[in-house]
Symmetry: C2
Subunit: 199 residues, 2 copies
């Protein structure tokens, strides 16, 4: 059986390419490098992806799909807004800390130049997530037992961006051997956000 | 007067290089490109910097100096911890939003490969900032009029990383024409953090 047939998933290519892009930089990594790392012929790689831009776009798209499947879809069915927000924070942190997905999801934050049409598609998926989070924060605030006038509260939009910043920034400081791990980070970031949006 | 003498500051080179690195990618930008953008001869550029690595290191180092001068130094003299933290949040957001400094400071977050010895020097400056912030959060918490047992509170370390994430993430979503601008962003992020660390 040829090696080519062993690469049964485009995901393996995406994961390997993502790792190379992070190690060497996007521009310094050629299609040849990606093929070589996968022990694929160049033709074998081009059979799956026509260009490096396409690979980068598919990595980012895959990262958004991971977010959709592991964070958004599971929380949609939770009726209580407070529980829905708690679950979203937990699941999003788990995705960010996931060893398996990190090399894919971290690529979302690199501002590599993508052709405008592809960039637009990624940005519109990112916006959907922000809007979902914004509506959720507003729901939590309006159902709070300590209702404040809206003008005295942190706006759902500022809170949504703050939460995304806190969580997406984790990859900048996280160390697998450090004190802050999922089990203490999740409750602390949850308390911080709830303290902040309901204060 | 030769063009060379007009480039009176290394800062102009750093700012131009930072802009090119962001537009085209670090790897895709050559020393020739940097020289050309500044209308400098290649020799003129090498007179100031010996390599692209050196330029990248000096950009990051300059970004840390900006943070030192515009955020850390001004807040050190503020006696009251709560006021000190409020000032730090405000000044840090102002640096991140500063049009003039943004092309420099945003480079801090790109994970371009730097030789380990240079990377270490940048990381140790970043760590100093985290430690300063951590101690400040602890002071604010211990002087709060609503004292909680330390175990029930968000740890100063988690709070420090959360705050840095919120603020350093701004460049990912900020739009000069958007609703969230310094004057409403600063009080909202301040309320969110104080609500979170004192809840």
């Amino acid at each position: 059986m040829a090696r080519e047939t062993l690469v049964d998933s485009r995901q393996e290519i995406l994961r390997t390419a993502a790792r190379l892009f992070q190690q060497r930089g996007y521009d310094a990594t050629s299609m040849n490098d990606v093929a070589a790392a996968l022990k694929l012929s160049k033709g074998g790689l081009y059979h799956h992806f026509h260009s490096k831009d396409e690979i980068l776009f598919e990595i980012m798209n895959h990262a958004m799909e991971i977010t959709q499947e592991r964070v958004l879809n599971p929380v949609r069915s939770i009726a209580d807004p407070e529980q829905r927000l708690r679950a979203l924070i937990r699941l999003h942190i788990e995705v960010v800390l996931s060893l398996r997905d990190r090399e894919i999801t971290v690529m979302l934050h690199e501002n590599h130049p993508l052709p405008p049409s592809l960039r637009k598609r990624i940005n519109s998926r990112k916006k959907e997530y922000v809007h979902f989070l914004e509506k959720l924060v507003a729901e939590v605030q309006s159902k709070s037992r300590r209702p404040h006038a809206a003008k005295d509260r942190v706006s759902p939009r500022a809170a949504a961006f703050a939460l995304l910043g806190m969580i997406n920034w984790i990859y900048q400081w996280y160390k697998p051997e450090g004190d802050l791990q999922a089990q203490n980070l999740i409750p602390q970031f949850t308390d911080l956000i709830f303290g902040g949006i309901l204060a």
